[in-house]
């Protein structure tokens, strides 16, 4: 009798473990990558649509249309960050909003707003570059190196 009771308890525990396994997402990594993939892809599609609009309706060249698309995405990011929607999308999408130009824009807009209480110069003005600064340092420095190398060995 005692033995029987014990195994019933055991069964409950096993059932519960099975339930936990069933309702837990297959893998956190898979879910995160899927979310990043579709949101990031959608942001790029929006960029392409804006660039095509620039080429077809504003008479822009291909390269200015690409700049126009980047600037528009930066504007949209700034607006959505300002009204608090961007954070919610970013929490869902992870790298999906970080890797596109929206991530760079958000990294500037968000601290610009957040550190306003510390003043317009050392708050907004300086903190804007907490993350964007390093990005520009490594991006610009490596591009200058590429330029100098190209000057000497035109490959």
């Amino acid at each position: 009798m005692q033995h029987h009771k014990k195994s019933a308890k055991q069964a409950v525990i096993e059932n519960y473990a099975a339930l936990v396994r069933r309702v837990t997402p297959k893998s956190k990594v898979g879910q995160g990558c899927l979310r990043s993939f579709w949101v990031g892809g959608a942001i790029c599609v929006l960029g392409q649509a804006i660039a095509d609009f620039g080429i077809n309706y504003l008479g822009l060249t291909a390269s200015s249309a690409s700049t126009f698309a980047s600037m528009s995405l930066v504007f949209i990011t700034a607006l959505l960050t300002g009204i608090g929607i961007f954070d919610r999308i970013a929490r869902y999408a992870g790298a999906g909003t970080v890797v596109p130009i929206s991530g760079f824009a958000n990294a500037m807009v968000s601290p610009a707003m957040e550190f306003k209480p510390e003043g317009w110069v050392l708050g907004t003005g300086a903190r804007m570059f907490t993350i964007a600064g390093p990005v520009l340092v490594y991006g610009i420095a490596s591009s200058v190196i590429v330029g100098i190398l190209y000057y000497f060995i035109q490959w």
Binding site: K28, F37, F68, P100
Partner: protein, 120 residues
Amino acid sequence: MLLYLKVFLVGGLFCAIGELLILKTKLTAARILVVYITAGVLLSALGLYGPVVRFASAGATVPLTGFGHALAQGAISGVQENGLLGAFTGGISATAGGIAAAVFFGFLAAICFKPRPKDF
């Protein structure tokens, strides 16, 4: 329409790789941005990124690697036009629109919107 599919798939792939790096290597978002822009400059200089841009257009230019690509190509065409001086002026000239927009709209957002407490 096929172009839009390519844009979606390639752009999505760049982001999924970024997510994988964040989850597997504990790289912070700031480091991801630095890694992506530097990788973009390198791949572009080696001539490997241009074909990706021709294949997927905004799918390759919107991710931050595309920003690096624009920097590198700007520096190279700067050298072609102005010699060594162009190595310094070319990169930022090519990306000036995006950088100025981020500074300007960031500042504008700080003026227009109240900072809100982070709820996470």
